[in-house]
């Protein structure tokens, strides 16, 4: 049998939605399996780490890695996949920008562990048992990977060739990416494999967006009714469309929910959150500082709103004043 190009899928700190999006290729996946050999895909297939270790360096055409990097195990795995692969694609918002796990960069690792193992309402841990990196019992030693001090995007750990954005990427974008890679028509390395335009450009509600927005208060989808026809920004909902890369065809807006920014910024923007903050806040109507504050107070969690997917990739990366490694 002639060798088909080899493809690997791997997951790091992620929810599994990216894996689901591969399955969402539906019958399209048959075409993929025809064209390539999937040689590693822990969520769906029974290949082991040792199988990949046994492969020659550079023998995998492309590794699609989803999830942010938070643990030593994830770091080891992505370093290994990088060595074994000609191309690495950061698949999905977490690998691309840090994603939802990246929001943990607002807190110390120790704070997070304490909350999870002691303080969370659903936890009862009277003996204050914490996971330890090494544990010995009956002469056997068990080990656990260590949690890094912060969440990293994939390209903060290994060189990345392409990015497939989205939470998760759409099957259409995955299909296009695979086709481009297999036919050798891929764009220059470092590209995000999605149109380099703001989402508003492809939004079905574009016509209802006025040239000047004005905000007196911001509404949240669970407290107010959403008009299914009108631009969500004109209705006062925080729709990240203006500061987010297109390519999803405004899926959330089509479902009558505001864009939350998962495709990340366009290539002209360094810091998606700052750019969205800038665009939104400058269009507040109030001119008096107290009134401005009152309007802005209707955004209760600015970091979680503006940096929902992009905190790990942002200019500040993580909260300052975190404990240094001892």
């Amino acid at each position: 049998m002639p060798d088909k190009p080899k493809v690997a899928f791997y997951w790091c700190a992620s929810c599994g939605g990216c894996e689901e999006s591969v399955v969402d290729l539906a019958e399209g996946i048959l075409g993929v399996v025809d064209a390539v050999d999937i040689i590693f895909w822990p969520v769906a297939m029974d290949f082991k780490r040792s199988d990949v270790e046994a492969m020659a360096d550079g023998s995998i055409l492309v590794s699609m890695i989803n999830g942010a990097v938070r643990s030593t195990e994830q770091e080891e795995m992505v370093r290994m996949l990088r060595r074994k692969s000609q191309l690495v694609i950061a698949y999905g918002a977490c690998a691309h920008l840090g994603g939802i796990p990246g929001l943990a960069n607002q807190f110390d690792r120790e704070q997070i562990l304490k909350f999870v193992y002691e303080e969370s309402p659903s936890t009862q841990n009277i003996e204050k048992t914490y996971p330890t990196l090494k544990f010995q019992e009956d002469g056997r030693t068990v080990t656990l990977p260590e949690m890094h001090r912060l969440v990293r995007t994939l390209d903060q750990v290994i060189p990345v060739d392409y990015y497939l954005p989205g939470c998760p990427p759409t099957p259409k974008l995955l299909q296009q990416a695979l086709t481009a890679l297999l036919s050798g028509t891929a764009p220059p390395k470092g590209s995000v494999l999605s149109p380099d335009i703001a989402l508003c450009e492809e939004c079905p509600r574009k016509e209802t967006k006025p040239p000047d927005l004005s905000f007196t208060a911001f509404k949240r989808p669970h407290t107010s009714e959403l008009d299914p026809e009108k631009c969500l920004l004109t209705q006062g909902f925080l729709c990240m469309g203006p500061a987010t890369r297109g390519g999803c065809e405004a899926l959330c807006v089509q479902g009558n929910m505001p864009c939350s920014g998962c495709f990340g910024p366009t290539s002209r923007v360094k810091d998606q959150g700052a750019k969205f903050l800038s665009s939104i806040c400058s269009n507040v109507v109030a001119t008096d500082e107290k009134e401005i504050d009152a309007t802005l107070a209707t955004i209760p969690d600015p970091v979680g709103t503006f940096y929902r997917y992009g905190l790990a990739a942002s200019l500040l990366r993580a909260r300052m004043g975190r404990q240094a490694e001892v």
Binding site: E75, E76, L277, I292, D293, L296, L316, M320
Partner: protein, 174 residues
């Protein structure tokens, strides 16, 4: 106007650490006021590096974040008083953005005194001096922000683990 010279600190704050403050001054008012302060030979702290922008409304929040990320210990923005903007409402836009940016910076652990917005008209040379001196003092009291150092510190975690991962892989192969 006297331009303070940039003394590279080589990353580690020596005994004589001096804060570095990046100032974005509006061409029509605060920058002119700083010029006036210079021509009038007023003395102010030399910790400020002034960048002239056409309007405080031109200051993209990205500029502020990038200044901090690249090693500024403080960021000062100077614009026209309300009602005086050369472009009629640039300073209102600046005020709105900056009030939100303050909250983001607070959430990210950057002290409030490191980031300041002042309305200073072209005739208020004295105010430029007072604001710069006051801010330099406050930032000096806070000490270095040291974001580049923190980023390097983050990277060290990776170097350490990279070396360890290498050892482990050899162990697996054996």
């Amino acid at each position: 106007m006297s331009q303070p010279t940039d003394k590279p600190s080589n990353g580690n704050p020596p005994a004589k650490w001096e804060p570095r403050i990046v100032a974005f001054f509006c061409n029509w008012c605060t920058y002119t006021a700083a010029d006036l302060a210079g021509v009038s030979r007023m003395k102010h702290a030399s910790n400020v590096r002034i960048i002239r922008v056409m309007c405080s409304g031109r200051v993209d929040p990205q500029f502020v974040l990038e200044a901090f990320a690249k090693g500024a210990d403080g960021v000062l923005i100077g614009g026209c008083h309300f009602g005086d903007c050369h472009y009629s409402e640039g300073n209102y836009k600046a005020a709105r953005r900056i009030r939100m940016l303050r909250r983001v910076l607070a959430d990210m652990g950057i002290e409030a005194d490191r980031f300041r917005l002042e309305w200073i008209s072209a005739s208020e040379g004295e105010k430029v001096k007072l604001v710069i001196n006051d801010m330099a003092e406050k930032v000096k009291a806070l000490g270095p922000l040291g974001m580049p150092g923190q980023f390097k510190d983050f990277d060290r975690e990776m170097e350490h683990l990279e070396a360890e991962a290498g050892v482990k892989e050899v162990a697996h192969a054996g």
